[in-house]
């Protein structure tokens, strides 16, 4: 799958990119329905002439870094799940099994790039430098998202399925309008990545995102984590064909990648982002993976899927294959594995402590930040309510 030669282009110019030829080449490039795999479940590194160049800077240290990333976010995920079971969180949305997809994609992003998550992207959040403690508020139901989105370049979690895809398309249009694609100085270029699930592909907003991004040549990577389930519905309820095919109807490349292979996810994401930064417009990546846990802690998957399925997928575990690869090839010793283990224990401890210490927000938060500018009607409601509460305190009733 040779990345089409990026054509130098006038920043922001509508007609410069991509040529019909590039579009057609891009489509041809993805004709292979098998998911791209660079590291097998058995930990074998598979050579790939077109995608290996995207990993030329990935040595043992980097791979160990990805291993650490995945172990930490998995540990974080399990801790979140446990905290929910203990009643400390209102709900938990597990990422178990999707670590490679999220770390591969997340590590492909540069600090200038923007990411629009859905609600399961704790691994991407980690890569963006979001303090994992800051994600807890959403699930403790004490805030709706609380990190610095502009600094981290990672927007709030979005729950209404598909909405963020259009929002990301708009953001990426802005990057293009700002002249941040197609510059010869590559450091000037930017792209956006948006995350959504297999179920989300049915929503009108995702389609409209495809339309907008393609006709505006927006530098947007559509990163679809096909974890094969939308709550209780398997992907066949959403589509006859593998989802990466969707892109072809709009004239941009769609690629299926083994979503449990962190190297393949990284390489494909880098390639796709490069396409975007060059000004060729959007790319769809379908990361084929598996939701190893329930949809959320309120879900009971035994009602709709057989446990064999899970057993099969355990054999394709995204972390295990990296561990085997590192160990077998003598790239990491026990000391390394132990230190990651220790680090993850420490992270879990921190998360627990933080969770227990999280303050209850005050009633004024209900009224705060609904608007930026003053709003007399709402201010009056707030004042009245706070007075009412104060009345209780005076009476000592509360």
């Amino acid at each position: 799958m040779p990345p089409p030669e990026p054509t130098p282009m006038v920043p922001g110019s509508r007609t410069a990119a991509p040529s019909p030829h590039q579009v057609i080449e891009g489509l041809k490039a993805t004709d292979d329905p098998r998911a791209l795999e660079l590291l097998t479940p058995e930990g074998e590194r598979v050579a790939h002439p077109e995608f290996d160049p995207y990993l030329s800077d990935i040595g043992p240290e980097e791979l160990k870094g990805f291993y650490r990333d995945m172990v930490l976010v998995r540990r974080y995920d399990r801790e979140g799940n446990a905290l929910q079971r203990q009643g400390q969180l209102g709900i938990w949305v597990p990422l178990l099994g999707q670590e490679a997809a999220q770390i591969g994609a997340g590590r492909a992003l540069t600090p200038k790039d923007m990411a629009f998550p859905s609600y399961r992207e704790h691994g991407v959040a980690w890569c963006r430098g979001v303090d994992l403690k800051d994600l807890l508020g959403i699930f403790r139901c004490s805030d709706h998202s609380s990190w610095d989105y502009q600094e981290k370049r990672f927007t709030p979690y979005t729950i209404v399925i598909g909405n963020q895809v259009l929002n990301a398309a708009g953001y990426a249009m802005g990057q293009r309008f700002d002249g941040k694609v197609g510059n010869t100085d590559e450091a000037e270029n930017e792209a956006t990545m948006v995350f959504f699930g297999d179920g989300a592909t049915s929503q009108g907003d995702v389609h409209e995102g495809f339309v907008w991004a393609s006709v505006y040549d927006a530098p947007l990577v559509f990163f679809c984590q096909n974890n094969q389930w939308a709550i209780s519905e398997p992907t066949e309820r959403q589509s006859r064909l593998p989802l990466y095919n969707r892109a072809r109807g709009y004239g941009f490349p769609g690629v299926r990648v083994d979503g449990n292979d962190v190297l393949a996810c990284l390489a494909v994401s880098r390639w796709a982002l490069e396409q975007c930064r060059a000004g060729n417009g959007p790319v769809l990546i379908e990361a084929f993976t598996y939701r190893m846990d329930a949809h959320t802690t309120t879900d009971d998957p035994t009602r709709y899927r057989l446990s064999d399925e899970l057993e099969t997928w355990k054999l394709k575990d995204p972390i295990e294959r990296v561990r085997v690869h590192l160990a077998r090839n003598g790239l990491a010793d026990n000391e390394f594995f132990d230190s990651v283990q220790a680090e993850s224990d420490a992270l879990a401890e921190q998360i627990r402590e933080h969770c227990f210490a999280m303050p209850q927000p005050g009633p004024e938060r209900v009224f705060a930040n609904v608007y930026h500018d003053p709003h007399p009607v709402l201010d009056a409601q707030r004042d009245e309510y706070l007075d009412y509460l104060a009345g209780f305190e005076e009476e000592g009733v509360h």
């Binding site: 709900i91 699930f139 929503q203 938060r365 409601q381």
Partner: protein
């Protein structure tokens, strides 16, 4: 198709009462409607094997098959839009919207098609469709899972809107809504779906009250409380508490939000002179506004205090650690009663 035991029992005994939660009553109501009319189909996200995230459709796909209980693709405009076509084909679709906050992707089809097909076609096409919406807060959920969007639909001509507050109504109103030839938005108080405290004897053999009627649930003389859905329980609790203090409150369950059946409210206000409308929805331009508007018009000389409201604030639903502040509760209702009485 295996006939379900539960309703076979109902068929056998002329006055069969069962103690049911609201959730189970809805399930039984759906099941009965599906048995009575093969054109009734259920559609929505996860309504099949899973039985819906709240289990309201539990067991229906197993008993009625995949063509009568459809696990649809994940898109609300698609659910409503295809239901419109199925209704034109002669089906009576019952659509489940998974949570209140997710009805908006389907809003256009509801406003532009569901509400207007009958009018547009001069009655030649009917739109007998029910859109079930678990609504309201108090369940400690994340964003978009606790909203009260009913006023949008009450404001939309061509729709009917109802809400049940107890198991008996849940059982009957859902069946009546399915029988209605017009489209009905059916709002269900999700926080009480599985409430043991609200479990009630449901007699499946009686003749129910008409669907589009309000009901006085408790009589009183000092002031009137009007509410619907989950707020009815708040009002009943408040009335019980007030009673201990010697204040006698009348409580009316609106049941039908569009058309409003305000006759019982007018009558009550003529007696008590005071009305408090209670709802979890933000106040601005809402159903409670409309109630106040109509009451001040019809009972102008009877009102001894203005109509007051206890509602959600004009804010998005807050993070649910804060929802106790947002939701009308017994204290806020009684505070409003005090204000009305002191006017």
């Amino acid at each position: 198709m295996a006939a379900p035991v539960i309703s076979r029992a109902a068929e056998q005994s002329p006055s069969a009462t069962q103690k049911l939660t609201i959730g189970k009553a809805l399930n039984l109501g759906l099941r009965t409607a599906m048995e009575n009319d093969p054109k009734v189909i259920v559609m929505g996200e996860d309504v099949g094997k899973l039985g819906g995230v709240f289990r309201i459709t539990d067991g229906l796909q197993k008993d009625f098959g995949e063509h009568r209980v459809l696990d649809t693709p994940l898109a609300e405009s698609g659910i409503i839009g295809t239901a419109v076509g199925l209704a034109i084909r002669g089906y009576r679709p019952v659509c489940e919207i998974q949570f209140d906050g997710f009805i908006f992707p389907g809003f256009d089809q509801i406003v532009s098609q569901v509400a207007k097909v009958h009018f547009r076609s001069e009655g030649r096409l009917r739109m007998p469709m029910v859109i079930r919406v678990p609504f309201g807060g108090g369940i400690g959920a994340v964003e978009h899972h606790s909203e009260s969007p009913e006023s949008y639909f009450a404001h939309t001509a061509g729709l009917r809107v109802v809400s049940c507050s107890n198991a008996v109504d849940a059982y009957w109103m859902l069946q009546q809504a399915i029988q209605c030839e017009d489209p009905v938005l059916f709002f269900e108080p999700k926080r009480y779906y599985h409430s043991g405290a609200l479990r009630a004897e449901v007699d499946t053999a009686v003749t129910p009250a008409p669907l589009f009627s309000s009901q006085v649930l408790r009589t009183g003389n000092s002031a009137t409380l009007v509410a619907y859905g989950p707020s009815v329980k708040v009002c009943l609790d408040a009335a019980a508490a007030a009673d201990e203090d010697g204040t006698s409150l009348e409580v009316i369950d609106l049941r039908t939000l569009s058309p409003l059946d305000l006759g019982p409210v007018f009558e009550s206000v003529r007696k008590t002179g005071r009305l408090i409308a209670v709802s979890e929805a933000p106040a601005n331009s809402s159903l409670t506004s409309e109630i106040a508007m109509r009451v001040q018009q019809e009972c102008f000389y009877s009102l001894e205090a203005p109509v007051l409201r206890v509602t959600g604030f004009d804010t998005p639903y807050p993070p649910t650690k804060l929802e106790e502040h947002f939701l009308p509760d017994l204290d806020r209702v009684l505070h409003a009663v005090d204000r009305a009485l002191a006017w």
